[in-house]
Every structure is written in structure tokens, then in C-alpha cells.
């Protein structure tokens, strides 16, 4: 019983991390309709950014998150302004391909810049834990989980209840109409993408605290992020949190009861099922 409780907690905390990873992807996809295959690469860059801050400037990785997010915001803004804005009106495949190319480029640049060495962000408390009855709560994951809650809820408030959030959604749905109603889309697109990338960067910083970093972690993180954002539902940030938690728990339980090699069968199998039964995700609105 203790084991089950512990595994459930592991799953929930893992789910929090998952949610943060997928948040930016869901925003960029759901709102800008850009399927960002380079998302994982941005998580990777964010992780390296945090690592450098920690290693050379001794900035605590949690305190460094805003800096990482800001740096990645700038990267995202410039990329959208300078590159992605060039093709946002082209058919869907093109964004897909462009971001794929971008992923390749970023990965290689990362290897050139940071080498293929494995890195970890290892502050003294990264291995600490709280004891809660028989259950152990790792501090770093708890921090990541709290971060996920705050960011998700913040995103939800922002998109649904602010002027800018509304404009972002409107632009995604009807570019011409948005321009006719006073939206400056270049800036708005860049801002949205930048927010998505900043979120990816923050996720990367947290990821580096619990896992190892190398230039090639991106691709699998992108795949996971897709699963999470679909399971939850794209048009609602709270859905991403639900998707993350759901996936974390499913994977942990599968590992416990069926075997570790079946975790992927379960997570992606459930993704397919969810899509077939409820194409808009668990929390998505049905049209």
C-alpha cells in the first residue's frame, strides 16, 4: 500500500513536470496553429541556459528560471519575427517542416556550442526530500510541480481573461479580421511564440534539476509534450495540467504493475484512444 501511495505521488509529481513541458507547445499549437516540432529543442536550450547560469554565475536554478525564461523569450520573439512570420500564412505542412528543420539546426548548434557531454544542474538541495508519512516527496520535483500549477493557472487567466490573451486567440482564428480590428499581428504572433518558448525554457530549467541534459534530449520531449497537450485538450491550459498528471500517473502505474517497457505503450496508446473518442481532449470544448 505504501508502495502504491509512493508510486502515485511519483506519478503526480512527474505529471507536473510533464505539464510544464507541454504548456508552451499547447499555446503555440492551439493558438498560433503552429505545430512546433522544435519544442523539445527549446526545452533543451532552456536547460543549457539554466546550466550555464548555475555553473558559471552560481545562480540557483529556481531563482534563475525568470532569467532563463527571459532569454528564451527573446530567442522566441526574434525567431518568430525573423523566420516563422515568413511562413505563417503558408499551408500547414510548411510550418511543420520549418520547425523540423529548426530542430535539426538547434540540436547541431547545441552540440557545437556545448559538446555532447552530459550535464546536470545539481544544487545542494536537488536531492533533498520531505517525508510525508511513508511517502517521500523530492524537493526539486515538488518545486517543479508548484511551478507547473502557477504557470498553468497564470496562462489560463491570461488567455481567457486579458485583453492581450483575447487578441492572441482572435488572431489565431482569423488573421484578416484581427487586423481589421486593430491587432498588429507581427508583434502579436512574435509575442505569443515568445511566451511559448519562454515556457519551454522554464521547463528546461526544471528538467535539468531532475534529469540529465544533452543536446539530443529534444526529440523525445517533443513527442511527450504532444501526448500531454492532446490528452488534456489544446484550447485550455488547465487541460495541459490534467494531461500531464494523467500521463504521469498512467506511466508510473504501468511501470509498477505491468512493466517499465510498457509505459510507452500505455501513454501513446491512451493518446490514440483519447483522440478517437474525444478529439478535442479531456477538457476541450466540442464544436
Amino acid at each position: 500500500m505504501d508502495l502504491l501511495a509512493q508510486v502515485l505521488v511519483n506519478g503526480i509529481l512527474l505529471g507536473g513536470l510533464y505539464a510544464i513541458m507541454a504548456l508552451g507547445l499547447a499555446l503555440v499549437w492551439g493558438v498560433l496553429n503552429i505545430v512546433n516540432l522544435a519544442h523539445g529543442a527549446f526545452i533543451m536550450l532552456g536547460a543549457y541556459c539554466s546550466w550555464h547560469l548555475f555553473r558559471y554565475l552560481h545562480v540557483d536554478p529556481f531563482l534563475g528560471l525568470p532569467i532563463t525564461a527571459a532569454v528564451m523569450y527573446a530567442v522566441g520573439y526574434l525567431l518568430q519575427r525573423g523566420l516563422l512570420n515568413l511562413i505563417v500564412r503558408a499551408p500547414m505542412f510548411n510550418t511543420l517542416l520549418l520547425t523540423f528543420g529548426l530542430e535539426v539546426v538547434l540540436t547541431y548548434l547545441a552540440q557545437l556550442a556545448f559538446s555532447a557531454d552530459f550535464r546536470t544542474i545539481n544544487p545542494p538541495y536537488a536531492g533533498e526530500q520531505l517525508q510525508w508519512g511513508p511517502v517521500v516527496l523530492p524537493v526539486a520535483r515538488l518545486g517543479a510541480f508548484a511551478g507547473a500549477l502557477v504557470l498553468t493557472f497564470g496562462m489560463w487567466l491570461f488567455l481567457l481573461h486579458t485583453r492581450l490573451g483575447r487578441a492572441i486567440r482572435a488572431t489565431a482564428q482569423n488573421l484578416v479580421a484581427a487586423r481589421l480590428y486593430g491587432v498588429e499581428p507581427r508583434h502579436l504572433y512574435a509575442t505569443t511564440f515568445a511566451i511559448g518558448i519562454a515556457l519551454a525554457g522554464a521547463a528546461g530549467g526544471l528538467y535539468g534539476v531532475v534529469s540529465q541534459i544533452n543536446p539530443y534530449i529534444g526529440a523525445t520531449l517533443t513527442a511527450k509534450s504532444f501526448a500531454i497537450s492532446i490528452i488534456g485538450g489544446l484550447d485550455n491550459p488547465l487541460g495541459v495540467l490534467v494531461g500531464g498528471l494523467f500521463l504521469g500517473i498512467v506511466e508510473s502505474l504501468t511501470t509498477l504493475y505491468i512493466g517499465p517497457t510498457f509505459a510507452d505503450v500505455a501513454s501513446f496508446g491512451i493518446l490514440v484512444l483519447v483522440l478517437i473518442v474525444r478529439p478535442t481532449g479531456l477538457l476541450g470544448k466540442t464544436a
Binding site: D2, L3, Q6, V7, N10, G11, L13, L14, Y108, Q111, A116, D117, F118, R119, T120, N122, A126, G127, E128, Q129, V136, P138, V139, A140, R141, V210, S211, Q212, N214, Y216, I217, T220, E251, S252, T255, L256, G259, P260, T261, A263, D264
Partner: protein, 376 residues
């Protein structure tokens, strides 16, 4: 006239981290041999030249590149790639064109059970990786009672697990956990919680370095501290210790090679000098991958001299009979083409790699049992 050696290794992509050992070792050995005047074949000194392609960690590309090396670049002899599945696929090219390949990157049993005549391997057999560790466990006081065996699902690690089970059985240990996990798993918290719940004394993990790093970090954050854990990869490499810092302490591992001055070598003097030269040139410590790679070049050089010819067929026959001492240890291939070297148990102690058990006796006292994480 130059002798051209060819290889395709992982310089980019997910396997680049280990692939570079091979490129660097091949280059260092070739330079060294040339500096010493080259190899003498039939009385004539020959310089060595090296042609290396980057296979971008893509098996299909590596097969094409080996074909290109053989048929277009007309290399005389082949050196191997890193990783068992690459060696498996690429050895088919050497077999097809009947050009010998000496490879130090693949140890999986499948490579050598296909009856191929042109592939030779300088990594110790996968099935024996935990052999010396299990021997050591018997000698520890008090000996661990329960064991967990975790292994990734690729061919090398499955071979390791397959070889380890009978060893454990002979030592009177039935594994409390015997779990196969997916390669590239990044979350071990469920498995770790089970280890803790079952109160396992010793944990043996056969996997990849990325997974081992995550395993150790997550063990710490979940406060899981078995009396002993041992890993097939990572521990001997400098990268591992750097990435984990103090948390690397107490980790056991194994290596078929350590930079010992006792390992004499015709070209480098001894293994220690090789390691120094390597570090000076590339800025990081070599591990057994690098030593194995350097030994591959030495083996080809030796075989050419023994054969007195550059003809692939003759070099192959010489390789089959070869017997010489290298910085990597005594090199001689079995009937299946694979070398057999005993594994030495190593442990990280105070940030340094220490040789603990040589297969028969303790060399240094192991730090055992591992204390709880908050008691370090």
C-alpha cells in the same frame, strides 16, 4: 605507400558522446605509429592514413559509409563503429567485401554468433560484464542478500542480463527484481520506489550513461540507498563523475581496462603514458572505449606485420592467430572473433576512480555498505 584505414563513427547524434572516444583513439594511435616510423610490411615501412566518416548516429547511413570506404575510397582495412547494433549491421559489409574489421565498440553476443569470418571484437563479452562484481559480492562482509537486476532492452544490455542470471544463481542469489526497461527511459522513480519497498541490498543496472545519470540523481531525491549499486557504463568515464559531482561517490562499475603502467605497449610504452598523451591532446580522460579503439589500430598494425602483406585475406588470417600485449591488455581473438578480458570492479571514492576488485581479490577496500544519502 600509405595504408588506408577506414571507419564510420558517431560524431553527431545521440551516440556522439561515446563515439568521439573512437575517433580520438584511432587518430592518436595512427599518429603515434606513424611517428614511430609506421608499420613494416615485407620489410617496407608503410605510413598509416585514416579516413573517418560521421554516421550521425544513423545505422543505415553507417552501412552506406562502410560500403563507400571499401568500394570507393579503397581502404585497406576497417576499424569499427561504436555500439552493438552498429557493429552488427556494419560487420555485414566487411564480410561481404572480405575486408577485415577490428572493432572495439560492440560487445553483444549476436555480432559474433553469426559465423562471420572478417569481424574481430576487442570488447569483453557482454555476458560476463557482471562476473567480477558478483564474485566481489560474495567476498563482501556482510554479503548482500537480495539483488535487483535492471537492464535496458537493447541487445547489449539484454546480453548482459542473460549472462548475469546464472552468475547470480551460482552465487546463491535469486533476484528480488528482474526488470527490463525501455532504452532512453528518463524516469526511474517507480522502479526506485520498488527497490526501496522491497528493501533490496544490491542493485545491478545494465544500461546507457544517460539512464544511469538519471537513476543516481533520482535515487538521491527519493532517498533510495541500497547497500551497493553497480552500473555497466558511466562509472569509469570522467564525464560521469563531472556530471554527478559528489553524488557519484559509492557507485560501483567495471572496466576491462585502467591506465596501468603494468600494461606495456609497443607504441605508447604503457597504458598510463597512453592515457596521459590522450588527455593532453584531447582534454579529457580516456576510458576503456578509447583504449579498446587504440588496441584495434595496434591489432591491425601487428597483423599486417605478421602477415607480411596488405592483402585483406592474409591480414584476416594473421588476425585470427594474433597474440600480443597492448596498452589494453593481452590481445588474442577466440574462434568467434571476440577477445576475452576479465572485468575489474571499480568504484568512485571521494571523486576518484578506484580499482576495487580484480576478479579474485580486493585491490582497494570498497566503501561498503553505501550510507544513507543524508548521512554522507
Amino acid at each position: 605507400q600509405d595504408v588506408l584505414l577506414g571507419a564510420s563513427v558517431q560524431l553527431t547524434g545521440p551516440l556522439a558522446n561515446t563515439g568521439r572516444y573512437y575517433r580520438d583513439a584511432y587518430q592518436l594511435a595512427v599518429d603515434r605509429i606513424n611517428a614511430a616510423g609506421g608499420v613494416k610490411v615485407g620489410g617496407q615501412p608503410h605510413k598509416l592514413a585514416l579516413k573517418i566518416y560521421d554516421n550521425q548516429s544513423d545505422v543505415n547511413l553507417s552501412v552506406r559509409q562502410y560500403t563507400q570506404l571499401v568500394s570507393q575510397d579503397k581502404v585497406n582495412l576497417l576499424l569499427g563503429p561504436f555500439a552493438s547494433n552498429f557493429a552488427l549491421a556494419d560487420s555485414a559489409v566487411s564480410e561481404k567485401y572480405k575486408i577485415p574489421m577490428v572493432q572495439g565498440g560492440g560487445a553483444s553476443d549476436e555480432i559474433f554468433s553469426r559465423g562471420f569470418k572478417y569481424v574481430f571484437g576487442t570488447l569483453a563479452p557482454a555476458s560476463d560484464y557482471f562476473g567480477s562484481t558478483v564474485e566481489m559480492m560474495k567476498a563482501l562482509k556482510p554479503p548482500p542478500k537480495s539483488v535487483a537486476l535492471l537492464y535496458a532492452d537493447d541487445s547489449f544490455d539484454v546480453s548482459v542480463a542473460k549472462g548475469t542470471r546464472p552468475l547470480l544463481k551460482n552465487a546463491g542469489l535469486t533476484p528480488a527484481m528482474d526488470e527490463r526497461y525501455s532504452s532512453n527511459t528518463s524516469d526511474f522513480s517507480s522502479l526506485l520506489s520498488q527497490i526501496k519497498a522491497k528493501n533490496v541490498d544490491a542493485v545491478l543496472v545494465a544500461g546507457h550513461e544517460t539512464e544511469i545519470l538519471n537513476f543516481v540523481r533520482q535515487a538521491k531525491s527519493l532517498a533510495v540507498a541500497p547497500k551497493l549499486y553497480s552500473f555497466t557504463v558511466g562509472v569509469p568515464s570522467e564525464d560521469f563523475r563531472k556530471a554527478l559531482g559528489k553524488d557519484a561517490d559509492y557507485a560501483f562499475g567495471m572496466t576491462a581496462w585502467l591506465p596501468h603502467p603494468a600494461l606495456k605497449d609497443r607504441w605508447f610504452g604503457d597504458a598510463d603514458q597512453f592515457a596521459k598523451e590522450y588527455k593532453a591532446k584531447y582534454g579529457y580522460d580516456p576510458d576503456y572505449h578509447a583504449a579498446s579503439g587504440a588496441a584495434d589500430v595496434a591489432a591491425l598494425a601487428q597483423a599486417m606485420e605478421d602477415a607480411g602483406s596488405l592483402e585483406p585475406q592474409k591480414v584476416r588470417d594473421a588476425l585470427a592467430r594474433i597474440k600480443f600485449d597492448s596498452l589494453y591488455g593481452p590481445v588474442a581473438f577466440g574462434a568467434n572473433g571476440q577477445i576475452n578480458l576479465p572485468q575489474v570492479v571499480v568504484q568512485v571514492q571521494g571523486g576518484q576512480l578506484a580499482e576495487v576488485f580484480d576478479g579474485k581479490a580486493f585491490v582497494t577496500q570498497p566503501k561498503f555498505p553505501m550510507p544513507a544519502w543524508n548521512a554522507r
